[in-house]
């Protein structure tokens, strides 16, 4: 009931729910929320029956592109996006791992060209289930859970 109220408080915009608490600020950084002009409400350490403890972010008047949403997959699985229009939930979206990650994560190989040249990184997702990505440049496979954001 409380959650319904939190969601309903937004007239138009997006609610990002089920964020692991420790990843909350990664989500903020990845979506560039600190430079948003519209109101952003950040809930930290909220009780959750499923996760024990979670983060939630509400962004007014903002609807993320599928590309932006897919970026979130590098932070955590199982996050949910709820799109609100006129206080009503109009759509729910899951975070889906994309086929490619461009300019989002860092290659773990220090001898990779992308760590030594001013250039965007590029990874192909080779196994969405196990979360394995492969650097387009050095061809090293790496686990999504271990990679660092740029």
């Amino acid at each position: 009931m409380k959650k319904e109220l939190q969601v309903a408080a937004l007239e138009n915009g997006t609610v990002i729910d089920h964020i692991p608490t420790e990843k909350l600020f990664d989500v903020v950084n990845l979506l560039g929320l600190q430079s948003m002009k519209t109101p952003v409400t950040i809930g930290y350490n909220l009780p959750s029956t499923i996760m024990g403890c979670k983060g939630i972010i509400k962004v007014a008047d903002k609807f993320f592109t599928d590309e932006e949403i897919s970026r979130l997959s590098v932070i955590a699985e199982n996050m949910k996006l709820v799109l609100i229009r006129n206080y009503e939930i109009v759509e729910k979206k899951d975070v889906v791992t994309p086929d490619q990650l461009k300019g989002i994560v860092k290659c773990a190989n220090p001898k990779c060209i992308c760590n030594n040249e001013p250039m965007p990184t590029l990874f192909n997702v080779v196994d969405k289930v196990k979360g394995v990505i492969k650097c387009h440049y050095c061809e090293k496979e790496q686990a999504l859970k271990d990679v660092k954001l740029l």
């Binding site: 190989n109 001898k111 990779c112 060209i113 992308c114 030594n116 040249e117 001013p118 250039m119 650097c135 387009h136 440049y137 050095c138 061809e139 090293k140 496979e141």
Partner: protein
């Protein structure tokens, strides 16, 4: 270009082109063209091979052999160097110490890039000359028994060869010390591509009795974490002349060179030794790679009127 990604048709096409260059290596097919050789990491033998390939086709060659005397150390980006050189030449041959450098260069450069080795990643021209040598000595690439010996963990040439051979139904034998055995990812690759393989730690005449190709590599001390292990195995993976008794008549011994001590010097006179001819084939394989990336076709090469007899 990644050899492992090439189709069987494309590989066969390039091999056939290399064979034309073996018949007639001296031509003026590239007269008026300029080839750059940019070696951000020194490799004299690879550079000489590429430069000879270009010169024997009538191209002119510019470039640098040692990045210490060029802008690379002044903090210029790879992209800037590539863009600058692209203004002057028709094709760039590059070797770099960073992995993926050639792929990145090929994405930014307006001219074709040939990868002459990028760190531990790829060395496609070596793979082409290895394939060509196997084809030349056996008359086919199909259904061969190929024995890879020595450092199978870090040896990138054996990994590329393994992947390129997937089209030809080979049976591989991996002969290596435990610490340098074939990595799991390549064994998985074999299973996924129906490549048969057998693993050995012993290296003797019985093990190699059915070999068509014996591909030797260096076992380097710095690859070992356990130096006791190195001392124990360092003399095990040395090929000696008496081990070749009882081997197949068509057996040929290959090595990417330079060798250290893994092939005894008295083998050089054995007709089964083929590593120097193998290095020579690098010339023909590289002539084919340069022509292919300049849009010169096999038909152009076959109907070439610029041959110098």
């Amino acid at each position: 270009m990644t050899i492992a990604d090439l189709s069987k048709e494309k590989l066969n096409y390039l091999l056939e082109m290399a064979r034309e260059f073996e018949k007639n290596p001296n031509r003026e097919l590239l007269k008026g063209r300029v080839v750059a050789t940019l070696f951000f990491e020194p490799s004299t033998r690879t550079r000489l091979s590429f430069e000879t390939a270009a010169n024997r086709l009538g191209a002119r060659v510019i470039g640098f052999a040692d990045p210490k005397i060029t802008s690379g150390t002044k903090g210029e980006t790879l992209k800037d160097t590539i863009m600058m050189v692209s203004n002057y030449v028709d094709v760039i041959v590059m070797r770099h110490y960073l992995e993926g450098a050639a792929r990145y260069a090929s994405e930014v450069a307006p001219v074709p890039i040939i990868n002459a080795g990028d760190g531990a990643n790829q060395h496609p021209s070596q793979t082409m000359l290895d394939l060509y040598t196997i084809y030349q000595t056996q008359g086919t690439l199909e259904n061969l028994n190929i024995y890879l010996v020595g450092d199978l963990k870090y040896g990138r040439t054996v990994h590329s060869l393994l992947m390129a051979m997937r089209h030809y139904n080979p049976t591989f034998h991996f002969i290596a010390p435990k610490e340098l055995e074939m990595p799991e990812e390549y064994k998985i690759y074999c299973k996924e591509n129906n490549i048969k393989y057998v693993e050995h730690t012993d290296f003797n005449s019985e093990v190699i009795a059915d070999a068509d190709i014996l591909y030797m590599t260096r076992v380097q001390k710095e690859r070992f974490t356990d130096l006791m292990e190195y001392e124990r195995v360092k003399d095990v993976y040395i090929l000696k002349n008496d081990m070749l008794e009882g081997t197949r008549d068509n057996l040929k011994i290959l090595h990417p060179l330079p060798r250290v001590n893994e092939i005894a010097y008295d083998i050089d006179d054995n007709p089964k030794a083929y590593y120097f001819q193998q290095a020579k084939n690098g010339l023909f394989a590289r002539q084919a790679l340069i022509c292919d990336c300049l849009g010169i076709t096999l038909d152009d090469v076959k109907n070439d009127t610029t041959i110098i007899k």
